[in-house]
Symmetry: C2
Subunit: 194 residues, 2 copies
């Protein structure tokens, strides 16, 4: 049977988690803090998120869900490079919302570097996104590249976008939104041209 009240508590807790992690970093996230911010007992938080890794995984999973939802809502036009740019922009910290999401993703990646369970989840998500990007690249290139070449280009595209996002959120105002979108637009043009 469905448990609407339990689900709703979990959603509230996840929102609080996203907010604290994005604003003050993973170090600031504790069971006590999440309980206080959500207005629930420490026991309730522990029930939903027994460990810090469980908290971070919930926050990351929610970020991935939101990005997937927005990407699904991108209306594809006849211009394939433009469609790819629209999708990749959802991964860049171009506004407060996306900047908060990138901070969660970076915190998750940093933990995943030493936590195998988180690394497995990260590998699955990266494989899925790389596959989606490869499909768009194949479409734009009209089958001119072999599958290995297409896959390599998809790896480069996702790495460049995530690297730009990482550089932007970790360096204050060093990279502004127009530098980020310029770089991604140029990269797409370059990868799809040859």
């Amino acid at each position: 049977m469905a448990e609407p009240s339990t689900r709703s508590t979990r959603d509230v807790l996840t929102d609080v988690l996203l907010d604290i992690t994005a604003r003050r970093g993973l170090d600031a996230v504790s069971v006590r803090q999440v309980a206080a911010a959500a207005g629930v007992s420490i026991g309730t938080v522990q029930h939903h998120f027994p460990t810090k890794d469980a908290m971070l995984t919930a926050a990351f999973t929610e970020v991935v869900r939101r990005i997937r939802e927005r990407v699904a809502n991108v209306v594809p036009g006849p211009d394939v490079p433009r469609n790819l740019a629209a999708v990749l922009r959802e991964l860049l910290p171009l506004d407060e919302r996306r900047s908060a999401e990138v901070r969660i993703q970076v915190a998750f990646a940093a933990r995943a570097a030493t936590a195998p369970a988180l690394a497995a989840l990260q590998a699955g998500i990266l494989a899925e996104v790389t596959e989606s990007i490869a499909e768009v690249i194949a479409l734009a290139r009209h089958g001119e590249d072999g599958p290995e070449d297409t896959r390599r280009k998809a790896h480069i595209a996702l790495a460049a976008v995530d690297g730009l996002a990482l550089h932007a959120v970790s360096s204050g105002d060093w990279l502004d939104p127009s530098t980020l979108t310029d770089a991604v637009d140029h990269l797409i043009g370059t990868l799809l041209a040859q």
Copy 2:
């Protein structure tokens, strides 16, 4: 006057820090742990690294110093793209040593996302590395690009390399060394061709 014994203690502590952060993550680093692993008192560790951010900054600064040293030792040949590839490979987790360095850099970037002092240091390093890459690109392109175009390519190159490194260390064995070097070689070829 120089203080050889103090310097040496700090170096030992930095090595221990690098080791713990790379193997078990930033969460595992504590004054107590570093003191135990280095065989010194807690007070000695606190003297050199009064906060966790001070520890992480010392570890990151040491990683940057080591990479700079290795890059300075790359003997440039007549083939400029090859020189660029040799330099960028020093930033990829292609062996245990470089993998440990990338883990430190990712942990530092994650903290820098919510700590302005760390973000300022990160911005300075990124600006310096981007500038160096731009110089090599300008050389390889024989002045065919304008400075803005060269800079954009340097941003893309560094973002792609750091993104690949981030993906590799955070996803277990999802990206192997040959996938990483293939992607970087292809990217260099693409950026230098047009």
